[in-house]
């Protein structure tokens, strides 16, 4: 399993649209991908779970990837969270 912490770029935080985009992205990988902060994590393939975290923009979020394609998943997911605007 690999873990990274990044800062969420979306100014409005993890609201409905970015969450649905992230779920689409996460669904492409076999790895289990978890996202969270302050010890509260949700499965990145679950839209409601992601939205329940209520992550604000500009705050640090932790990504955990576990599985065969974890390296690629981590790269794509962290790029999505830090570069897509």
């Amino acid at each position: 399993m690999i873990t990274t912490t990044v800062t969420l770029i979306f100014p409005e935080g993890m609201h409905a649209r970015p969450a649905s985009e992230l779920v689409k992205l996460a669904g492409k990988f076999n790895s289990e991908i978890r996202i969270g902060q302050n010890g509260k994590f949700a499965n990145a393939k679950s839209i409601l779970g992601l939205m329940s975290l209520g992550i604000a923009g500009g705050t640090p979020i932790t990504i955990e990837c576990d599985g065969q394609d974890e390296t690629e998943a981590m790269e794509k997911v962290s790029r999505f969270l830090t570069e897509t605007a």
Binding site: A42, N43, S46, L48, M51, S52, G54
Partner: protein, 309 residues
């Protein structure tokens, strides 16, 4: 998981009165247990649990007043000298001696008061702390109440947990949480699942998006929380994989250290999962009542073999 609550949380929840104005409300409460400091007042401070909320009622105060002046001062000063005492709470709206006010002001420990009796406050405060300080986790899954049995459905994304929940709703069962379930351990062997407030009564169905179970199916179709009694794990059917065919041994899985009965149900097109889950719930109830179909079959078989021999 909340590791502590502040005195301010207790103060607001219990609707207490703050006697010594000033700071101290940010102090942390880290234990569920509270203490009635009878022995401490008598001067015996060995094993004094100073980290607990200290509750003084009519007995304690009457005893304190029965002591000579210098003893009162000594005991109060010693009790107020502990850095880690969150606060003192006086019950029945009792008068607080001036020396207590002075000593607590110096050490910054808040003095709170309630008009309730001590036993009443004790039970309220313990249940509040039990809930707030209970170990907690967020699980990816769906929690449903089927015939009164709380079933947590888990399984990888897209396996059909939400769709199964929808079918169960149509059959008159109730939804607690879809996708994200907050689980609290409220006692040694009890787990209670709730829905994160933002997601209350929502379900996500691929192709339909987010739907609200309560507006669609009515208030009777949802619950805010439910004790979790079993786990049903859905997994993709794999040819050649050995599945449990008898159900003789109960498989257990641990969540937050609590063991729950777990069944693994393979998913294949055309298998009616809702029916299987309904039956799993009823079977769990039967087992709880003392009837175990697989065991009975096994015993009958054994005795018939013995009869032959």
């Amino acid at each position: 998981m909340a590791e502590f609550v502040t005195v301010a949380d207790v103060f607001e929840e219990m609707k207490l009165e703050l006697v010594n104005q000033g700071t101290g409300l940010e102090r942390k409460v880290e234990t569920i247990e509270v203490n009635r400091p009878g022995f401490a007042l008598s001067g015996f401070l060995m094993y004094y649990p100073s980290e607990r909320i200290q509750i003084l009622g009519r007995t304690e105060m009457a005893y304190l007043h029965s002591l000579p002046e210098e003893d009162i001062k000594d005991r109060v000063l010693r009790m107020c000298s502990f850095e880690n005492t969150p606060c003192f709470i006086f019950t029945r709206g009792l008068d607080i001696p001036a020396i207590f006010m002075e000593a607590s002001e110096k050490s910054g420990i808040p003095l709170l008061r309630t008009h309730h009796s001590t036993p009443r406050l004790l039970s309220q405060i313990t249940s509040f702390l039990e809930i707030r300080l209970a170990p907690e986790t967020l699980v990816h899954g769906v929690l449903v109440d089927v015939y009164g049995i709380g079933i947590l459905m888990t399984g990888s994304s897209g396996i059909g947990k939400s769709e199964t929940a929808l079918e169960l709703l149509k059959r008159g069962h109730r939804l607690v949480a879809d996708d994200a379930v907050e689980i609290r351990q409220i006692s040694d062997d009890t787990l209670v699942g709730t829905v994160p407030p933002l997601l209350q009564y929502l379900l996500e169905i691929r192709g339909l998006g987010v739907i609200n179970a309560m507006t669609l199916f009515g208030a009777g179709a949802v619950r805010t929380h439910k004790r979790i009694e079993m786990i049903v794990e859905l997994e993709a059917w794999e040819e050649g994989r050995p599945y449990d065919r008898l159900g003789l041994d109960d498989v257990k899985k641990k969540i937050l250290g609590v063991e729950l009965t777990s069944v693994t149900v393979p998913v294949r097109p055309g298998r009616n999962l809702a029916v299987i889950i309904e039956v799993a719930a009823m079977n769990q109830r039967l087992k709880r009542m003392g009837y175990h179909a697989a065991k009975e079959l096994s015993e009958k078989l054994l005795s018939s073999i013995q009869d032959q021999g």
